[in-house]
Amino acid sequence: MNIANVKQKSLKQRKIKDNFMVGLLYLSTLIVITPLIIIISYVIYNGINALNWDFFVHELGSPTRAMQGRPTGLVHTILGTAVVDTLALLIALPVGVGSGILLSEYPDNKLNPALRIINDTLNGMPAILKGLLAFALIVKPMGTFSGLAGGVALAFVMIPIIARATESALMNIPWSIREAGLAIGLPRWRVIMSTVIPAAKTGLVTGFLIAFARAVGEAAPLMFTSFGNNYLPKHWTGMIFGPVDTLPQRLYSLAISPYKEWHAMGWAAGIILLVFVITLFIFARVLTAEKKYES
């Protein structure tokens, strides 16, 4: 085919083109990596000064509080994020893992072809639509924005990722292990629970970490489910049944606010988010690397 055309060029020309393309590949990689480094360094540079003791022990309060120089912080946001994200994980884990088990351990189940396509589609759906769904399902009947609704919205983000990760982690376990379990007379569910899942532990945890990291950074589904709150609730149940602050959503509100003091806190919130997400990310990577090493 094209070989005939290629032959007409001299070898030298072809080598030059080869080298040119290598240069282009290096260049485009560099161009894309640069913004990453710029973004991370800007966030750290601008936020590091606002990251003081007050930041971790006080609540935000009204804007005047920051402008008068009284101590403000985001303790309510950090606690709220912990509550909402934990709720989301508790809701998403059973659904995601259960579906993953169905997909991988019962390959001939009638639901599977539809489930696989729908799960992938749900994974590709914009997070903001998951927020609208949680709004209609939880916020509207309850009549109030709540941490629970935020947790459900984030769970919608996590579920498809966990289901996919569980499926592929379990699929990686050879069938011979299952057959060994069945051969010594274990029922199928015991085989799955006591041999397949322990064997796939690393893959499963990696999947959960990735799902968690994705959900932690999402602000869109939380804007109209957990809504946000400048204060700590009076009682801890307010975190679940009342409007509650979360880091990504607070970062957005701080960034678009007109107060300089709040901008600095926004950058600081960015540092915390980045550190958290990157830690999760590194954990997931290390686990994957270990797994490769083992096999």
Partner: protein
């Protein structure tokens, strides 16, 4: 002795519960959880549809989609066209910007780079995907948009004003927050997705394919051009489609950078709006039923676009796996 006998008699029902019933319960539990996901997807479509009923009743389906007016204050008239246009234009252009660099990086990681560099690059690219959208957004608001305004938009605007004043409405107001800024950031955010999916497609190309091309005397680049890329084309296209879906739904960074102008005419660097950005900006403050309903209707349109894009991607992937990538 009697005790032992009792054990044997008692053992059978337990055994049945343990084996037969246990399996039944386990399978039905997994099935119910799987069904939850299916129901969730159906619920999403249904909820958006039923919540947007009032809007479609008032303006008509086509009337809403074609409408260019978005006035939540005085006239309470709503039309979706500016947002559909903004969403599609930003997504398409960001895909165009991101496509070639992503493929270049994927080739770099999979074929060219030495192993240590390939690992580092791979991790850094994945890290871009891991950065929360709001963090990119805050950088965009305070650093990138002002920088774009001072280095590009203002000089271009002033130059145009001097030489071709009639073109000014097309360029738009150079405030820094607008369609171009949002598109560039969007491109940066979808690059990791295309890269990862392209890399996977390239890794699936069998080694023999490469060796055959080398045996014909091809240089490394020629091997990639003639043996690897055509083979991986299907996977690359599916990846681009999925990333397009991501770009359509990307909310926070776009909402922070696009300038949020809700009406036509849009301009190249001037402010605009997308479906997710207007939902984020107005849903919290929407009071009247028709306003909420119109935002839900926008959500439904986003749902339909996203559904189509994802199904096309699934179709391409499926076709690829059946034919082994040879046809496309």
């Amino acid at each position: 002795m009697a005790n032992n006998l009792g054990n044997i008699i008692n053992k059978k029902p337990i055994h049945i519960i343990y084996r037969w019933l246990g399996d039944k319960i386990f399978l039905s539990l997994s099935f119910i959880l799987g069904l939850t996901i299916v129901l969730l997807a159906i619920a999403m479509g249904f909820v958006l549809y039923s919540e947007s009923g009032e809007t479609f009743k008032t303006f008509g389906v086509w009337g809403f989609i074609k409408g260019t007016d978005w006035d939540a204050g005085l006239h309470m008239s709503f039309g979706a066209l500016p947002f559909i246009f903004g969403t599609l234009v930003t997504s398409i252009f960001s895909l165009l910007i991101a496509f070639l660099p992503s493929i270049a990086i994927a080739i770099f990681i999979a074929e060219y780079a030495p192993k240590w560099l390939s690992n580092i690059t791979d991790n850094l690219i994945n890290l871009i995907a891991a950065i929360p959208s709001v963090v990119v957004g805050i950088w965009g608001i305070f650093v990138f948009a002002p920088w774009m305004r001072d280095t590009f938009y203002m000089p271009i605007f002033l130059w145009t004003a001097e030489n071709y004043p009639t073109l000014l409405p097309i360029i738009g107001s150079p405030i820094g927050y607008g369609m171009t800024t949002a598109t560039i950031i969007l491109a940066l955010m979808i690059i990791p997705y295309i890269t990862v999916l392209t890399k996977d497609a390239i890794k699936k190309v069998p080694q023999e394919q490469r060796e055959a091309a080398y045996a014909l005397g091809a240089t490394k680049w020629e091997v990639i051009r003639m043996a690897i890329l055509p083979y991986a084309r299907g996977g690359i296209m599916a990846g681009a489609m999925l990333s397009f879906g991501r770009a359509i739904g990307e909310t926070m960074a776009v909402a922070m950078l696009i300038g949020n102008k809700n009406s036509f005419p849009f301009s190249i660097v001037g402010p605009a709006s997308t479906i997710p950005s207007v939902i984020i900006n107005e849903f919290r403050e929407a009071v009247s039923n028709i306003h909420v309903s119109s935002l839900m209707a926008l959500g439904l349109i986003l749902f339909v676009i996203s559904l189509i894009v994802n199904l096309i991607a699934a179709y391409i992937t499926r076709k690829l796996s059946i034919t082994g990538g040879k046809v496309i």
